[in-house]
Assembly symmetry: C2
Homo-oligomer: 462 residues x 2
């Protein structure tokens, strides 16, 4: 006799959506979560004030919550927008008045129109690169990237090889390198061209992923993205169990037995929703098929430190700057103004990606903060050196995540073993944003993956 | 109080050598091994007869032992040769009388001189490719591949990108692809050019790795390679503990506590000698530094099924064939005659590498055997269809190995996080053939890594 119909491993957005849909269909479910909180790679937090000893109960800045995890919503992320509407959670536009900054190879440029962020020659080079990229991406089958005429050729090379071959100017190359880091949190030499094409197409195109108004960074969630997971978990109540890291999944023709901190839970089906590196560290008895093992050995996670620097007010607006910065100088390569709607504080979000994140994560906290603030000051002036609040979240250091935004595929993996990504193994099903066809790597993709996995297990239940 | 001075995780050759050297210096050591045997990726086995039910106690072929794991010795593998001499273990030359076969794009060619294995145009193309490869490899610092003038450029591309750019003929390209599969057990699109250059240079050059007489396949071990591990383990006696998979390593300024099946063992230092994918599935408390975590997420293992087909006699010699085959048609792309010195049987060893291994591993045993025997028959005639013994070892399916010959690095990994490969983390030291500067991926490299790790811990012990 099974304890429940379905066990879900992981209480991130994909796991909670899986459980929500299974329960809505009248089936029983339990969610086992390793951490003491729900939300996975969404995490909405207060910001501690600067200069206080963290040991001595620092009072967080009043009324302020920032997203140390996923933070933005695109207008075409219909699944995420539907969840936000269901729970009555509001969004606020990302676009701010004033000029953005583009700083490359020692030259800084102010612009409002993104098409004028570079000199005409660089702009032309980026445009022809973007055109070629989009033409190739349009041909990728996001449901099965290993298919298609050029899949093998695209998957045999790194994105860096494509950049060197395609771009004619140094700044053009640097632009695509920065785009790769900003979108995948890893350097272009680490990733298959096919994977970048898939990932961009999965989210509506590379330009769409890099755009604020109307694009992937169109809006933010008032009160924080983690609310989605928290509200889903509230509805599930006792069926979400925290502090229950899963060590072993036993599976055979009769059922499933999932072993966690407090013992074994039996079920008809299990949905594993944790990221690939964590999924592969669970013991499966019997072991998984080779293509699955080979795939998870080849899905490293990106590296991100997400930093929030909070100021008394958004002082950069005095200089008619929007707070949006793109730069080739780490650690402050990608910056957004994420001040709350009432401008009670001025908030800058710094996305420190890839090698910069690894470097920052290896510094002690004071040196790391100094490096970030100096970076901000180089763009916005000395006032950036004096925040009233500061918070840095290093996702690679998280035992139950091991790197953000998600996992990426090096050359060869998609075409050789990519079909194992979503294929159930007996009674074991796979979810998580990495398994999504649309908005892979985003919250919307996490929801899509949960809905798909729920449909799979519901169809298979006795 | 520590139980012992040093705990070694893994009783493969590197672990046993580590323990042997620590003990020789008068220190105490215990080796914890997950399997019920020693030897790791060396495994010398009898061959079951064909056609008997494995349930019904099949008597193995009398007097025959084959190496299902590492099997060859090169004349410049001085560390391995020294261990063989220490234990009085003999070797026998690999080279056989008769012609070798090279079969590419539907054309088969007999040759004795390797320089004549192709038509003159293909030979010239391979020669210019080999020259360019060697010139680049010579510049790689095997002690620190991330250093050096061109390291970043070599590490930004796949070996497949190099092949397409360098070779002028289709057969030339196929030759280097086959070389990659044969040497690294993975396709050239999976691996960084820098890694292939390093790996080849580490073993004395690509041509050296592909050569029988005088090269990496110069000789075999009479009685089997696993004897090295078995004799080392005999000397260590009770200090080698089998069936003790290590789950957790706790470490702090005071010492180490290694948790395995039977409980905790405390020590001053621990040497983890298991392959990267296994090392990363151990829980470390506190967690490892980011660069180490990022590295092991990016060290997938190769895929190999090593097959032995045994015949009443080496019938191919009747046609003046040596039994050595190179082909572009899987699963029998790489074949050697490994008959015992007295020719009591005719034995063919088939190395099924990379995607061919994954494909073979996913078939049921009968279909897989049929595919291999048909491949042999296509080169050696219909007699190959009737072996008296047959044994296939799929290393990816081994829970305590997860792929052979070793781990490889995709683009970007060496230059970004390669320095974490050997760097101790507090009281935790790393060994295993993947950590070797010389003969990385070979038994000789495993010995070298054990000697280095032993020297590290001996210097650090109180």
């Amino acid at each position: 006799m099974a304890n429940v119909d379905v066990v879900v491993v992981g209480a991130g957005v994909s796991g909670l959506v899986t459980a929500d849909r299974v329960r809505a269909a009248g089936r029983t479910v339990v969610v086992l979560e390793a951490r003491g909180r729900v939300g996975g790679r969404t995490l909405s937090e207060p910001v501690p004030p600067v200069g206080t000893d963290s040991e001595a109960d620092p009072k967080p800045l009043a009324g302020l919550v920032v997203d140390s995890g996923a933070g933005w919503v695109a207008p075409d992320q219909t699944l995420l927008l539907a969840e936000l509407e269901r729970f009555g959670i509001a969004t606020t536009p990302q676009v701010r008045p004033g000029d953005a900054l583009m700083s490359m190879r020692g030259k800084s440029r102010r612009y409002t129109d993104a098409a004028r962020s570079f000199d005409p020659v660089t702009t032309a080079d980026i445009a022809q690169g973007m055109l070629r990229f989009s033409a190739a991406a349009e041909k990728v089958d996001v449901a099965a990237p290993w298919r298609g005429e050029h899949a093998a050729r695209y998957d045999a090379q790194t994105f860096e090889s494509w950049i060197r071959r395609t771009c004619l100017t140094g700044k053009g190359r640097d632009y695509f390198r920065l785009a790769c880091e900003a979108v995948l949190a890893t350097a272009p030499q680490n990733v298959s061209l096919l994977h970048v094409l898939f990932y961009a197409q999965s989210g509506g195109g590379l330009l769409h992923l890099l755009t604020t108004g109307g694009g992937a960074h169109d809006a933010r969630v008032v009160g924080g993205m983690q609310q989605v997971a928290e509200r889903l978990a509230e509805d599930l109540g006792q069926w979400v169990r925290l502090y229950e890291p899963v060590s072993t999944i036993m599976h055979d023709a009769d059922g499933i037995s999932v072993h966690s901190e407090s013992g074994a839970t039996t079920a008809h089906r299990v949905v594993v929703t944790v990221p690939p590196a964590l999924a592969s560290s669970i013991d499966y008895l019997p072991g998984l098929p080779q293509d699955r093992t080979l795939l998870t050995q080849r899905m490293p996670h990106g590296s991100v430190v997400k930093v929030h620097a909070v100021y008394r007010r958004p002082f950069w607006r005095d200089a008619a700057l929007s707070g949006e910065i793109a730069s080739d100088q780490g650690p402050t390569k990608v910056v957004f103004d994420t001040s709350p709607p009432d401008d009670a504080y001025g908030v800058l979000t710094v996305l420190v990606d890839g090698e910069d994140a690894v470097r920052l994560g290896s510094m002690d906290a004071d040196r790391a903060r100094d490096a970030v603030l100096r970076g901000l000051a180089s763009h916005l002036g000395p006032k950036a050196m004096d925040p009233v609040g500061y918070l840095a979240k290093d996702w690679t250091a998280e035992e139950w995540t091991r790197g953000c935004y998600g996992a990426h595929l090096p050359p060869g993996a998609w075409t050789q073993v990519g079909s194992a990504l979503r294929t159930p193994v007996g009674r074991i099903h796979w979810a998580g944003t990495e398994t999504a066809e649309r908005w892979c790597g985003y919250v919307d993709g996490a929801i899509a993956s949960g809905e798909r996995a729920a449909a799979e297990v519901l169809a298979a239940l006795p």
